[in-house]
């Protein structure tokens, strides 16, 4: 799982049938110090996250597991919203 920040959402009317009810969010991967790392990705939202929130997400075929469907072409999904991060520097 990786940390990320939700930076926006994607509007897509036409998508794979099984995905009609899901929100697609832009996620910027970040590190523990809230610094951006790498390029933004698109992830399916399963927890109701909104822009500005720090979240964690899973990638690869495991991303389908939290969705209430058997099969869906999803390679990233948001599985939790972060309240606090405790880092010993």
């Amino acid at each position: 799982m990786f940390l990320g920040k939700v930076i926006g959402n994607v509007w897509a009317t036409r998508k794979y049938e099984a995905l009609h009810t899901f929100k697609l969010m832009f996620v910027q991967p970040i590190n523990g110090e809230n610094e951006n790392i790498g390029e933004p990705i698109v992830a399916v939202d399963t927890v109701g996250a909104g822009p500005g929130e720090i979240i964690y997400y899973i990638t690869a075929s495991e991303a389908v597991i939290p969705l209430p469907v058997d099969m869906a072409p999803v390679d990233a999904s948001i599985v939790g919203i972060v309240d606090t991060i405790n880092l010993k520097s």
Partner: protein, 100 residues
């Protein structure tokens, strides 16, 4: 998933027999401002995308999770056609880039 722009189609007659009937599109990765990036990928279409459209591409083993691509040698699939991007925190991104 990443954002991409469909820039063409691929025709092939000789291929793995599991892939007969698949529609292959060439997708060029784009950034949040829809500017072209250098990565290209050949993806199987599952939504009926056409040339010039902005799409989302799922890669890796997840791309085998459609009715058509199940258990087939596929590692990229187009799973949505993008209507609009709404990125309120785009400015925040640029700010961090400028600081770095």
């Amino acid at each position: 998933m990443f954002l991409g722009k469909v820039i063409g189609t691929v025709w092939s007659t000789k291929k793995d027999e599991n892939l007969v009937g698949a529609k292959f599109l060439i997708v060029r990765q784009v950034d949040l401002n829809l500017k072209d990036k250098d990565n290209f990928v050949i993806a199987v279409d599952s939504v009926g995308a056409g040339e010039g459209e902005i799409v989302l591409v799922a890669t890796g083993s997840s791309s085998r999770q459609t009715e058509f691509t199940k258990n087939k040698p596929v590692d990229a699939v187009i799973m949505a056609i993008v209507d609009k991007l709404d990125v309120p925190l785009k400015k925040y991104l640029q700010k961090q880039e400028n600081l770095a």
